[in-house]
Symmetry: C2
Subunit: 238 residues, 2 copies
DNA sequence: GCCACTTATTGTATATGTTACGATATACTC
DNA sequence: GAGTATATCGTAACATATACAATAAGTGGC
């Protein structure tokens, strides 16, 4: 180990890709950067995250970030991968924000990204709130298929994470229930599977292969006030 | 972001789990720690790795480490995961070595671990060399099933990596050829699959499912000087 | 009441992949 | 050439994945 290497300590941060499902499409929770400089001067949306604290494990940091942003106490988190390209903090807009926010010359940040799946509830912020109201000015859900340019390499991180989600869901489909409401219809769950896999799923095969798994319980409740045959509700039994 | 967090910069290192296959069992390439203090005073085997250099991407560092340890020019590498527990560098033996090797108080090291698959050749070091000769005193292959206690949390990292290998090989069995010799028999390849999956594989099903894939070419060569029917050699066609 | 329209729900046949299992071939040893 | 050890090949049962169509239940218009 040479001396050059030893004297070099990059910053280490943890960023969280928090995914939710609104019944129609996958959403990712993004936060706005602070208001130290006019918003026009930089891309003002980013993944929730922060630098690592002293004596804090990586998983701890991810849990803390997610809990503080969403309020959820024991979220499902999974470390995904590290991003450490020297150029990832070189965008002038990002440099400007970093210097304003951190009041310090930032050379380089190695970030550890985490994946978390989350149910979108009334308590979690909505995009409309972020755009039109003052209630949740700092964070909101955005559809993953139609994202603006984000800070740093956060667009790339989200894309990579979606691939990872696809891979994981193929092995453990049950994890997708983290994103589902407590009561859901077969069509909603199928739509989520389609969103994650990116493929159309046959309705009948889905009923056979998924809906009659032992961990999916049909309820004696049906949709109401719909202009067609009401769909049955189901719930997940762990 | 609070001030406490900003003033804290852990060291960042890259560690590589380099796996090979000797025809019988999986092997991992380990390096000996330097001789600054008597060997008895600390666990003297560790994964090859070092602190991150300035302006060096994580992948670059992994490639450089692997090339410098094995001589292989363009190794297959895959980032696996980051380890950042504050306690991972707290073992007194490890602290002793760090302070001797780095001449600096080490608070904490976040490490990014990489997986690499490699063919074991005559040019790469062997365990016997490491134990009995002076030719390769600093590195050698060790069977993954029978490892001594390693530095830091490197035992844990290797275990996690083996699970990852199992997962990846299930999706892309072709990657296992990175570990195979240029010419191999069906039994050798089967043995590797068994080692990775941890399960017995039926000989006949293996011949059907694997050996007649389009990327496995039978050669007109057979084993020699064996006390039983000679096995055919095959080679991998990318 | 009847029809048009929308979405929900269910079954069957076929193809494909996986597992289980036995027989024969080849080379060496004694 | 009998015994032994490994290599190589095939087939039936079983499980899984895919393709595909008809019926049920609700709404709204006439």
């Amino acid at each position: 180990m040479d001396k050059d290497a030893l004297n070099f300590d990059p910053h280490v941060s943890v960023d969280c890709v928090i995914l939710g499902f609104d019944g129609d499409s996958l959403q990712v929770l993004l936060s706005r950067r602070g208001n130290e400089v006019p918003e026009e001067q930089y891309n003002n949306l980013k993944l929730p995250g922060r630098l690592l604290h002293t004596d804090e494990d990586l998983d701890e940091a991810a849990l803390d970030i997610i809990t503080s942003v969403t309020g959820k106490r024991h979220p499902l988190v999974k470390q995904f991968r590290a991003y450490g390209s020297p150029s990832r903090t070189s965008n002038p807009k990002d440099v400007l924000w970093l210097e304003n926010a951190i009041k310090q010359k930032i050379g380089r940040i190695v970030t550890i990204s985490y994946l978390s799946l989350m149910r979108i509830t009334n308590r979690t912020p909505h995009r409309k709130d972020a755009e039109t109201q003052a209630s949740y000015p700092d964070k909101a859900w955005y559809p993953v298929q139609d994202l603006p340019q984000l800070a740093f390499d956060h667009n790339l991180i989200i894309q990579d994470t979606l691939q990872e989600l696809y891979r994981m869901a193929g092995q453990q489909p049950q994890m997708l229930f983290e994103m589902m409401p407590a009561k859901f219809t077969a069509a909603q769950l199928r739509r989520l599977h389609e969103q994650v896999s990116g493929k159309k799923i046959d309705v009948r095969n889905f009923a056979k292969l998924v809906m009659n798994k032992p961990y999916i319980l049909p309820l004696n409740e049906w949709e109401q006030n719909v202009s067609h045959r009401a769909a049955r509700f189901y719930r997940f039994k762990p």
